[in-house]
């Protein structure tokens, strides 16, 4: 089976269905922009009352937010599995997925993609360039490549965490409401981890490694050398978490017993 050609066929179909409800698509892109604006508003309002946050300036915080948007948008476009338990386990839809010739997780990625979220990549880049300009950051020729590597790492971190949480559904189909909260906890990875106490710092680094989607990789571009080790660990952490999550998924699928009517 040619995964790549299937992927692009799904993209084609997806665009057709989206263009049927154009008004909704416009509202959706608009609501994404609004959502991104909310976080900027938070930073701006907070820095209206303080000038430094644990030694980090407003522009640096804005830069981190811009960086965060890029891997996050890629994640949000392809891994829409926050309602996996409700949608696939409780309703028995997983039966159908398992009859498909591609890997079950890939099939769900295909069905649930939301390409308009990719718009956030542009927003993120705009925010980064604005903040980088304010800070007078310099770009070397190899920085774009490192950027891509760190973005992929960050997106894999997010994907890994959310896939791992979705697999809980294979063992227990009761409703959790964990997923929406996770999106919130993801936001804390964007602030300098020094501000938290040891437990939360540890959680954000090694258990729910959201710091690898925000502050750690950004510190490379902000030339904060004390965090370089963590910055370059980003792709490794991303890969490890993603592989663990896929392994969990593969075990979970064997536990699926079917449901629905």
């Amino acid at each position: 089976m040619d995964y790549i050609s299937i992927f692009f066929q799904y993209v084609g179909q997806y665009l057709k269905t989206r263009l049927t409800y154009r008004a909704d698509m416009v509202v959706e892109i608009f609501s994404d922009l609004l959502f991104q604006a909310v976080n900027l508003v938070f930073i701006l309002v907070v820095f209206g009352h303080t000038s430094l946050l644990a030694g980090w300036s407003k522009d640096e915080m804005i830069f981190i937010y811009g960086f965060f948007l890029v891997p996050f948008s890629i994640f949000a476009s392809f891994f829409n599995i926050w309602d996996f338990t409700d949608r696939y386990i409780v309703k028995g839809e997983m039966d159908r997925i398992l009859t498909r010739p591609v890997h079950s997780l890939f099939q769900i990625v295909l069905e649930r993609m939301e390409l308009e979220s990719l718009f956030g990549v542009i927003t993120g880049l705009v925010v980064m360039f604005y903040a980088g300009n304010q800070l007078g950051l310099e770009i070397s020729w190899y920085d774009p490549f490192i950027f891509i590597l760190l973005v992929i790492g960050g997106a894999l971190v997010y994907a890994g965490i959310f896939i791992a949480l979705a697999t809980i559904g294979f063992w227990s189909d009761s409703r959790t409401d964990i997923m929406p909260m996770m999106y919130n906890i993801g936001n804390y990875g964007r602030y300098p981890v020094d501000i938290y106490n040891k437990v939360i710092k540890y959680v954000l680094t090694w258990i729910l490694p959201f710091a690898f989607v925000g502050v750690y990789p950004s510190s490379y571009f902000l030339r904060r050398e004390e965090w370089y080790t963590y910055a370059f660990l980003t792709p490794v952490v991303g890969l490890v978490f993603f592989l663990i999550a896929v392994a969990l998924w593969n075990v979970g699928v064997t536990k699926y017993r079917g449901a629905g009517n």
Partner: protein, 263 residues
């Protein structure tokens, strides 16, 4: 009246059947509030108070804002959108009770469940771990409970509006999301409204959103005092009544628009 109590009861029991995983939810909520606490400590950075709120009051504000959210928050906008898309709404509309009232009662059942099994234990844990100040004044608690009932009404009315909009847009996931974002920001869940610049506060004082989170949380943290409490509660009451008009107006229009595709 009896049938509404029955609707609340059934939704409550439905939630009760799936209660186990709620306890893991409390842990996640605590982590969330904890991270917020440290973030705010860093923002305060030694300052005594910002905009009249001390760091303890701020922590309390955040803890109570999130716990109250568990009560007023519901997904009936999504449910209505789903029922319209699947054509189920036609069957619901021939039933011998008003559809919108039924949805509201289901939301209330969910809210009461979360209040008892989520907010109360969650608040106890959070109060043990973080420097949260719980008022010992009975009247504060009384005003707070009155206030979150209004929160529920206002939030549910806005959800109904977003849900009914599906009749006109057919697919309104985007609108529902935008609504959620606007509420998070303008209701004071993320930031107390008093932190915003003056012009923004002026705009928000003419909107119903502050009644959802800012008012109950300020009452609970005793950021509002004396006549401010009464003014805030009157503001909530007025919005609760005022929003009935657009909800019913839109509903009447929507019923004329109804096209059932399958079902």
């Amino acid at each position: 009246m009896g049938k509404y109590i029955e609707m609340i009861r059934i939704r409550f029991l439905m939630m009760l059947a799936y209660r186990t995983n709620y306890y893991s939810g409390i842990l996640i909520y605590s982590i969330n509030i904890g991270a917020y606490y440290f973030l705010w400590s860093a923002i305060y950075g030694g300052k005594e108070n910002i905009q009249g709120l001390s760091i303890t009051q701020m922590t309390t504000y955040i803890a109570v804002a999130w716990m109250a959210r568990a009560f007023y928050f519901n997904n009936i906008d999504r449910e209505i959108a789903m029922e319209i898309k699947e054509g189920k709404v036609a069957v619901e509309m021939v039933r011998p009770y008003p559809y919108l009232n039924m949805k509201m009662m289901q939301g209330l059942g969910e809210g009461i469940f979360r209040l008892l099994f989520f907010s109360v234990p969650g608040m106890v844990i959070v109060a043990l771990v973080f420097p949260v100040e719980l008022s010992t004044n009975m009247s504060t608690w009384l005003f707070f409970f009155l206030s979150i009932i209004f929160s529920f009404i206002i939030n549910t009315q806005i959800n109904l509006l977003a849900g009914i909009a599906t009749f006109f847009l057919f697919n309104n996931d985007g609108l529902i999301r935008a609504k959620r974002v606007v509420i998070d920001l303008f209701s004071g869940l993320i930031l107390p409204l008093s932190f915003y610049p003056m012009w923004a506060q002026n705009v928000m004082s003419y909107l119903p959103f502050q009644g959802i989170s800012y008012i109950p949380s300020m009452i609970f943290t005793e950021g509002f005092k004396g006549s401010q409490i009464y003014e805030a509660l009157i503001n909530q009451a007025v919005w609760s009544l005022l929003l009935i008009i657009p909800v019913y107006g839109l509903w009447i229009l929507a019923k004329r628009q109804l096209v059932v595709q399958g079902g």
